[in-house]
């Protein structure tokens, strides 16, 4: 019986970070190994570093971590938000300066 439950879990893992395929199990294991803040989770799991830049996973991660630490979500320090916020094609950056050069 127990074995079936574990298998069931593996067949349908709960994905927290879709960019880097990080599951709820991965997050809980990292917390068990000693991660106590978002920076540690980000850096050990690379969660929040993919194309979504944390917009999908960080709110989920904050709720998991807050629950595990017995804190409120708004008590957790947020990771630094970095430009350009959403992924921007390099061509767009280059055309901005190339047009500038021409004028």
């Amino acid at each position: 019986m127990g074995g079936e439950v574990v298998d069931e879990k593996r067949k349908h893992p709960v994905i927290i970070c879709r960019c880097n395929d990080i599951t709820l199990e991965d997050v809980e294991r990292a917390i068990e190994q000693g991660c106590r803040d978002l920076e540690c989770l980000r850096k050990t799991l690379r969660i929040g570093m993919g194309p979504c830049q944390g917009r999908t996973c960080i709110p989920l991660l904050m709720r998991i971590l807050a629950r595990r630490l017995g804190k409120r979500v708004d008590e957790l320090p947020l990771p630094v938000v970095r430009a350009p916020i959403i992924p921007v094609p390099i061509d767009l950056f280059l055309r901005s300066v190339e047009e500038g050069d021409g004028g």
Binding site: K43, P51, R82, A83, P84, P89, I90, D91, F93, S96
Partner: protein
């Protein structure tokens, strides 16, 4: 012997690791934020021995030996990887090829097998490169890269296993001296005493040393790097565009993202949280000329980290004349990550043997600035 290492970056952790391996039972690392939160976690992860001074070449030759040894030893079991993909230094101008030839003979004389490669060989190494813009290149086959957070995680686990105490989230605010000895460190949560104090606090080192009357000529220079979305493996070497001002570079990480960096005009001590979005097109313009496919790639983010620089761009290693139990390892001027393993070795030797086994390291003592014995570069870099 009780040792307190201030700073939980690459240098502090390698120093603690080396001391513990050599049998020091009581080693504590104290870190203000989290492991790798300073310059270490912000670096571009390149590792090379192709430098322009004897000191750097010899130290990095030894460091690379250790990177290789560690990646197949205990740190490797915890995930440390060293990928020896090499460094390619591009010469857009013919006269740069002559400079590279001189550098190659310096490297070769010190046991680092760099060589000049022509455009055909370059095309094989970096197939995506537009070689029409290039006269020739210098190739350092011993160089490579290592992902910073897996390295830190491996070191953290290995240190803990060896009995090193790693205290995070506690800042050291001042040192307290009595006579010619440092007796304790005052932290956010009380004082910590030790027999030996090692300052490996990167951009915080200068202010901390001032609390015991020591002035070290360090400047914290903001340096920028951006990262793109991830792709399948394209090319292994880190590529340096030597003839473009600010010396842009590109490297593909183990995860497949591209890091692109370039030096832009900056003021020392400027906040690492300042916004300099103009960096992005400045860094990408020359690199996208060399790699046209990049135009279709997206930038995820960019960030800033400090190069903790000294007047001669070489680290400060060793004991101070003023105190008998105070040591320093800082001022790596952008090379602290790659030097991590050799830093650990040299600092453990200073502390346990009274002198480093690599003679070139002795020239890096803090007194060199007072005496005007600065390290000379074979070729002055941009």
């Amino acid at each position: 012997m009780k040792v307190l290492v201030v700073g939980g970056g690459i240098s502090g952790l390698f120093i603690a690791y080396e001391l513990a391996k050599r049998g020091v039972r009581d080693v504590t690392v104290v870190e203000e934020r989290y492991v790798g939160a300073g310059s270490t976690g912000r670096c571009a992860t390149g590792i090379r021995a192709s430098f322009t001074s004897e000191e750097h070449v010899v130290l990095m030759r030894e460091s690379i030996k250790l990177w290789k040894e560690y990646s197949s030893g205990d740190l490797g079991r915890y995930g440390l990887q060293f990928i020896q993909g090499g460094y390619v230094w591009l010469a857009r101008k013919e006269e740069t090829v002559d400079l590279f030839k001189k550098l190659v003979s310096l490297h070769n004389s010190l046991g680092v097998p760099t060589r000049i490669i022509d455009r055909d060989e370059l095309k094989n190494l970096v197939p995506q490169l537009n070689t029409d813009l290039i006269a020739a290149a210098m190739f350092d086959p011993t160089a490579g890269k290592s992902y910073v957070f897996t390295t830190l995680f491996a070191l953290f686990r290995a240190c803990r296993e060896l009995g090193v105490k790693i205290v995070t989230g506690v800042g050291v605010r001042k040192l307290v001296a009595r006579g010619s000895r440092i007796v304790e460190a005052v932290t956010d949560v009380g004082t910590m005493s030790a027999d030996v104090f090692v300052i490996a606090a990167g951009s915080g080192s200068r202010e901390l040393l001032k609390t015991v009357g020591i002035e070290v000529p360090l400047k914290n220079m903001p340096r920028h790097v951006l990262v793109t979305e991830a792709f399948q493996r394209a090319f292994d070497p880190l590529v340096i565009d030597w003839d473009t001002p600010g010396v842009p570079y590109i490297v593909q990480t183990v995860e497949g993202n591209f890091f692109v960096g370039r030096e832009i005009e900056e003021e020392p001590e400027q906040s690492i949280y300042s916004q300099r979005i103009d960096f992005i097109p400045k860094a990408l313009k020359p690199i996208a000329q060399l790699f046209p496919f990049l135009r279709r790639v997206r930038v995820l983010r960019y960030w800033i980290g400090y190069y903790v620089t000294t007047p001669d761009n070489h680290p400060i290693y060793g004991p101070f004349e003023e105190y008998e139990n105070l040591y320093v390892a800082t001022g790596f001027s952008g090379h602290g990550y790659m030097m991590g393993p050799v830093t650990g070795k040299i600092m453990a030797e200073w502390i346990l043997d009274g002198k480093p086994s690599i003679p070139q390291a002795e020239r890096l003592r803090p007194e060199r600035f007072k005496r005007g014995q600065l390290i000379k570069e074979f070729a002055v870099v941009g």
